[in-house]
């Protein structure tokens, strides 16, 4: 079957029990839950409306009622429950749960462990290939202790002001800050805290493993109105904006690697070598960054960066003389 048709049948078989259990649910909610457009959802409901039992007289058909934005379904008791999981769905769910347990730690991890036990129990063992998956997949948590994310999570939930000592990679500087934590986001292999920063009076993204120390204060803050749910996560890492234009040329040996790095997204190939252009508001982080590449990089601009690297390299050399 074409995947779309199969997906549609699967969706209908979950959609009907969802509405049966949540009569009067809004169209918007259904679109969100099932990840479809309004037009698609309406056409799904139209389809359900003409299905039923033989002889398909009005008395045999499933009843679908759309009242304003609210959806009701009746006469479909045989679809009261969704279909059981397939083996792949069970494996996928198990794996996704394991990933959340590993990546986010508490409080989700203990709740998920018990949820998975319930699911496995209800399916009487089913075909849960837990063993195969444990042997075949290894998921490593990002660096910070789960204790930090758990503390930040409860601060987010309770709208508590957090005081922290934070290492800013961009400026190579540790400073105390007071922030209003809003969400924890996982991206590029790290947890990030999105928070309103009192010092700069602006929203900031902090890498959680660079929080040296933190305390959740008793002070509550007013959460911003309607945190826009749809705003994409990130950006993470060094913000690629500012008044200084930097141009670097990587040797062929590093060209491919450099291309993979989000900060070097603006690139041009030059006989196997890669010229990257980026913008920044300070050069401090670049001095450190450039030590990574040794002799495999040429600094094309600005001249100031080259001079700073000369000074920095001499200073580092003095340790080893």
């Amino acid at each position: 079957m074409v995947p779309d048709a199969e997906g549609r049948i699967q969706r209908l078989l979950s959609l009907i029990p969802y509405v049966l259990k949540n009569q009067g649910v809004t169209v918007t909610e259904l679109c969100n839950v099932f990840g479809v457009s309004r037009a698609q959802l309406m056409s799904d409901l139209d389809l359900i409306f003409i299905c039923g039992q033989p002889d398909y007289t009005p008395a045999d058909l499933i009843e679908v009622e759309i009242d304003g934005d609210r959806v009701f379904i009746r006469m479909a008791d045989y679809f009261a429950r969704p279909m059981r999981f397939t083996a792949a769905e069970l494996s996928g769910l198990y794996l996704a749960c394991r990933a959340v347990v590993e990546l986010s730690g508490p409080p989700a991890s203990s709740a998920l462990t018990s949820a998975m036990e319930k699911i496995a129990g209800a399916l009487e063992g089913g075909t849960l290939s837990e063993d195969d998956i444990s042997k075949s997949v290894d998921i490593h948590p990002p660096t910070p202790e789960h204790g930090i994310t758990a503390e930040l999570s409860s601060a987010c939930a309770q709208h508590r002001v957090v005081e922290m000592e934070y290492y800013t990679y961009g400026r190579d500087d540790i400073a105390r800050r007071r922030v209003h934590p809003l969400s924890l986001e996982f991206g590029m292999g790290h947890w990030y805290l999105r928070a309103w920063d009192e010092r700069s009076g602006d929203m900031r993204v902090f890498r959680v493993d660079r929080i040296k120390d933190l305390s959740v204060t008793a002070e509550e803050f007013e959460p911003p109105e309607e945190e826009d749910e749809e705003s994409p996560p990130g950006p993470y890492g060094v913000t690629a904006s500012g008044g200084i234009e930097v141009r670097l040329r990587f040797s062929p040996a590093l060209a491919r690697w450099a291309k993979e790095q989000p900060i070097f997204s603006q690139t041009k190939e030059e006989r196997g070598r890669l010229v990257c252009t980026l913008r920044t508001d300070n050069l401090t982080w670049l001095e450190r960054e450039l030590f990574k590449y040794g002799t495999e990089v040429d600094i094309l601009a600005p001249p100031e960066l080259k001079e700073r690297m000369r000074v920095r390299t001499r200073s580092l050399l003095s340790i080893y003389q």
Binding site: A5, G92, A99, A111, S136, V137, T143, G294, S315, L317
Partner: protein
Amino acid sequence: MNKAERLIDLIAMLLEAQRPVTLERIRNSIPGYDQATMASFKRMFERDKSELREMGIPILVEQLDPLEDVQGYRIPKEDYYLPEITFTPEEKVALLLVNRLSSEEVTPLSREAAAALRKLSPDLGDGSRLGQTGSLHWRFAPQREPVEGLTLLLEAAVGQRSVRFVYHSLGKGKAREREIDPYGLYFERGAWYVVGYCHLRKEIRSFRVSRIASAVELANPRESGPDFSRPPDFKLEDYSRILPWEFEEGAEYEARVLFSPRIAWQVERDLGDVYRFETAADGGGILHVTVRNEDAFLDWVLPFAEDAEVLSPRELREKVRERLLRTLDKLGGEGGA
């Protein structure tokens, strides 16, 4: 008539049937089948039946009457229905978090996980439904690797099937087609890797999935496998925990690196579970690190700049000095202190 309508009608009829339903009755009842001749109806029905079974719908064939040779079909409710599960509010919230991870396709089989969660969704009600997660303050960014490739690699590892793909290794080499026997996958610092026996290099290697430049395909699609058997002593952790400077052969030795109080806490947090870390009174500390690939080690340690000093061995200190001198030379500066 719409095929989806025909299939939903068929499932509904077979679910509700008290007794097995004959082919004759199916044909006469469901409008979607009525135009076909008996022969073409049978072909159509067989196709529908196998598609539904592939989706996991348990269609049983049963003898209708012990004395007569007539077969009928039904879907036993107890095999079809997902048992009702009661979750605590905490469990519901945690499952919504899993739903977020799946919708960003972070793990293999993410789409299947999302389908499973949709099936569970009637049991996740009470205002914390799948679509209403505004209060949930944990989020996941989408993963770069295509989920189809991850899923195929996982299924191949579990089913012990060899795979083929075009791989761009780092460095100057051109992308080449590889055949590997995948033993497992790991997720480290935001990237997925597949570990397996590489037929090109004739050894076990790790491949970063984002560097796969083609679709992942089974190497022997016409066979049913398994194509290989995973060595019984293979342990995924032996590969997944290898740091870049431990890659490659070359003699292994221990280096000692002193970190300043400004930075030591970060290093300890990052590597304290892998290597011995001696904390000093001033907040700094010494990391005892295993080195096999010196270039990769220098790539890691030098960006700490004056906050890290390689203490020993002497030969490694000399390597640091040489690299810094070469760097300075390239920058057009003069060596020496």
